[in-house]
Symmetry: D2
Subunit: 289 residues, 4 copies
């Protein structure tokens, strides 16, 4: 019948168009079938060997960062995160140490030979940050700060791009495209929970995003279990789920004394809790780092 | 200071109240610390040994159900799902075989010695269903159909309760409380994805719901990977995530020929795909059934 | 170019299909261009003259219902709502007076010659309710309780169908189609807020749903300002917005003493507040009832 | 009883804390009870006399902007919007004319003596924009681009701040606080729809946000009916609702030939449609401008 014919044409046209769209993106797996592997000193993200990224929410002092970093290094972990510029809902909340925070990260990174990751929130701070950190993080609130994306796309430094609070897969992928289109191919995507009606957790961890992003793009995909759940007691089970679903890395927060942390105090692990966490994910065999 | 004192009192009061609330629920782990284990013939759900539930979305014919069930049985699987009453968005969509569907399930269940699970959508059909199936499923659309909950609470048959499309943890737990308050303690909770803005998947699988529910209640918790993702290509990674996060069972859909299925054709596996799926989850070691 | 041609065919096919779908529904405006007007004694809903429906959340006693109804009648209002069967999240919350509630409504309705509206939650209670009330309400939690929809579709009594907590326009329209497909054409649709992440209000009033539903269907569309906002202080501005956007009626809750109400105490108006509310919407000229 | 006492203390503490929080914000109505009125040449926003802001989505050419502006001026309207910098999901979509766009706006504004409003997306472009436009718009994607907020907070030019895609009232208010805390008191808030599961409209217009924001802050509040609905056929009813709910202004998009528009072609009105729209809102009496 005519109607059936139209449906067939419709479906064919639809597929052609979708195909066409995703093929044209530089981040698309249709454009480049093999996985992008991001090199971070000796560590590789996206090579099939899942990693763990940890560190304090905010850089508060040299001692604070060093104590967490040392505990990590003792366990053979090299990927250290820490916030120097903190985007906060209220202008009256702690905004991070800024330049001093970057300097602390660099000092600790150099002393312990670790890779440092820190968020940059303004295009004008990108250039300067190159001298201090190894990976530039673009946070959830800035996922569609296109000026910042273009800026980090123009430098020679790996970028960790977090998914926006309510970004679709399509928007997330196209945000990454802003970076790659400006020349920077070293992009890692990070699912960090989306905003939903559910408030048992801070955000809702969209675990399916990992295989979707791995399928649609050739980029490494990681999961931030701290910001997605916002609950210390959920870090371990969700980290296990993230590794099981195929994430290239898990990111979490550790603080020497979470009770006095200047941000995110309810969801950071202290060092013994972190060591226990690490023991559990190693025992399960999903994390071999 | 006074303000600090008030904050302390506030926090204490808040905790007291919350404590009080959840303690009073019969499904609460505070009321009963040990896990509820639901017995289904030889199989146990909630005993720490994760299970797999499979079967066609809709019961369409004896042959269709038998072929799926036989493939399962050959693999040592005993938990067979199949829809006889189908709640459908449009009144003009296939509504299920009803009573005939129940009879087919019973026949196949008896022949192959399997446990059968099927959704009942109306209080008046509960009584009759007791003769045909081993587990009564209450679907997402009926999670707050309180008359139905009371009815299944009053019978001596395990109940599989699915989370509503946009139900909070609190609402889900209290829906289970309707069942237990009427006398039936054999309740299994099932996360099946929640409705969000994201449309890369049919719903958003809220993987954190599993540890939250395990912590708040003493009931077994499972994950329906078919309805949460709505995509055949995501069944395997999300099933792995579900087992890793601590689910007591995973539920999925299998059809001898998905392309001609009367419902959910895009997301059911055919039998060879199912066998491959099973091989993969067994290889990973999370599923030993 | 070929690509352009395909896009044209695609668009044409898409429109044809959508057209086709909505044309086939009995509730669709494409099927019947003129407005359905529901007759409720002397009052008409859907005739271009917007109405106001009011009454207590729950029927608690004859005196309580009578005092609200009398205040309404004194103001020339005839459409009285009141809950006899209350679907409540917890089994331990007040569940409504049931049959006694229906009897109270009938008595007050008869004494003051008013139209009574009350929610029925179970198919088995529909038949009995016909003797007591003038409009059967199907609540948000039951919008996809298809057995209930079929039952109210088979009786000769107007139905007020509320939108589900997270129902799409398409699902809402098809829920109405379940009713009309069973023979009952006297259906009124009610937007009552949808569940979103925002918690300044109980739900998010989706005001655009009114013109969308008026365009897609020939049914009257009303707005429940009480359940959508959950805040007494927002009843007046949202009622004005509802009338302005084209709603055929606004529904709100009034209680002689909200502080002691057995349900929804934070959002019901007391009688003087209601009279002030009424004065304001009359003054604005949008409500002439 | 003790429990009751605790509940009272709890409630009192809660209110004290909330009170305390909102009192300390400079944008809070508790801090300043009277309305902020933003002066834009002769026009005032927030003085109880609602306004209409219109113009093309993107500035495409002098002729395009002039033709819309002239049609507005002929109708006595002075508030002209137009996008020079366009934040677009894909890097391959039209990104706006940038500086050339600002120049066109200035030329048209000068020629017709109109107030011009345009979005600035990067802190570095704020300084330059001061010479060209009368109101700086901060778009939804940048609502939590705190560097940009600080920058526009430090200049002497009114700011139109749009609500983020999934921002809560609290986050929106605190984003405005970033501006006022840096010295700029001339802030207008704009509800522009939030992201929900519903896809009958582009976003879900949260109409209740208007009275909530008017109550919580002393700032003018407006509604963008174009981006919230994304549908030309819903502009009129939602504009009526916005005025009725108490908005200080409505914002909409007009293009001489929407079919060839470089952005938002499906939702802009052409000039005759706009004149009809204007006639209707004037006839209803809500808009007297």
């Amino acid at each position: 019948t005519l109607q059936h014919l139209f449906k067939q044409i419709f479906k064919a046209s639809l597929e052609l168009q979708e195909d066409d769209n995703s093929k044209s993106l530089l981040v698309s797996r249709k454009k480049r079938p093999e996985n992008t592997v991001v090199q971070l000193n000796g560590d590789k993200i996206g090579n099939g060997d899942p990693k763990l990224i940890a560190g304090p929410c905010s850089v508060e002092s040299y001692e604070q960062v060093y104590s967490v970093a040392k505990a990590m290094k003792d366990q053979g972990l090299n990927l250290l995160r820490g916030g120097a510029y903190k985007p906060r809902t209220s202008p009256y909340d702690f905004q991070g140490l800024g330049q001093e925070g970057l300097e602390i990260l660099k000092r600790v990174g150099d002393e312990l030979d670790m890779v440092t990751i820190s968020e940059i929130v303004s295009p004008k701070d990108v250039e300067n940050a190159l001298d201090y950190i190894d990976v530039i993080q673009v946070g959830a609130r800035n996922m569609q700060n296109f000026e910042l994306l273009k800026e980090v796309g123009a430098v020679d430094k790996p970028v960790l791009l977090k998914r926006g609070m309510s970004a679709t897969m399509d928007e997330f992928i196209k945000a990454a495209e802003y970076i790659i289109a400006n020349g920077n191919e070293n992009i890692m995507l990070c699912e960090r929970g989306i905003r939903t009606y559910e408030n048992a957790t801070r955000n809702t961890l969209d675990i399916s995003a990992v295989p979707v992003l791995k399928q649609e793009t050739h980029l490494p995909v990681m999961v931030d279990v701290t910001h997605s759940t916002g609950r210390r007691d959920l870090l371990l089970p969700t980290a296990k789920a993230a590794y099981a679903v195929g994430a290239d890395a898990v990111m979490t927060e550790v603080h020497p004394d979470p009770a006095v942390a200047l941000s995110d105090s309810a969801q950071q692990m202290n060092i013994p809790q972190f060591e226990e966490f690490l023991g559990e994910i190693r025992e399960q065999g999903v994390f071999k780092g």
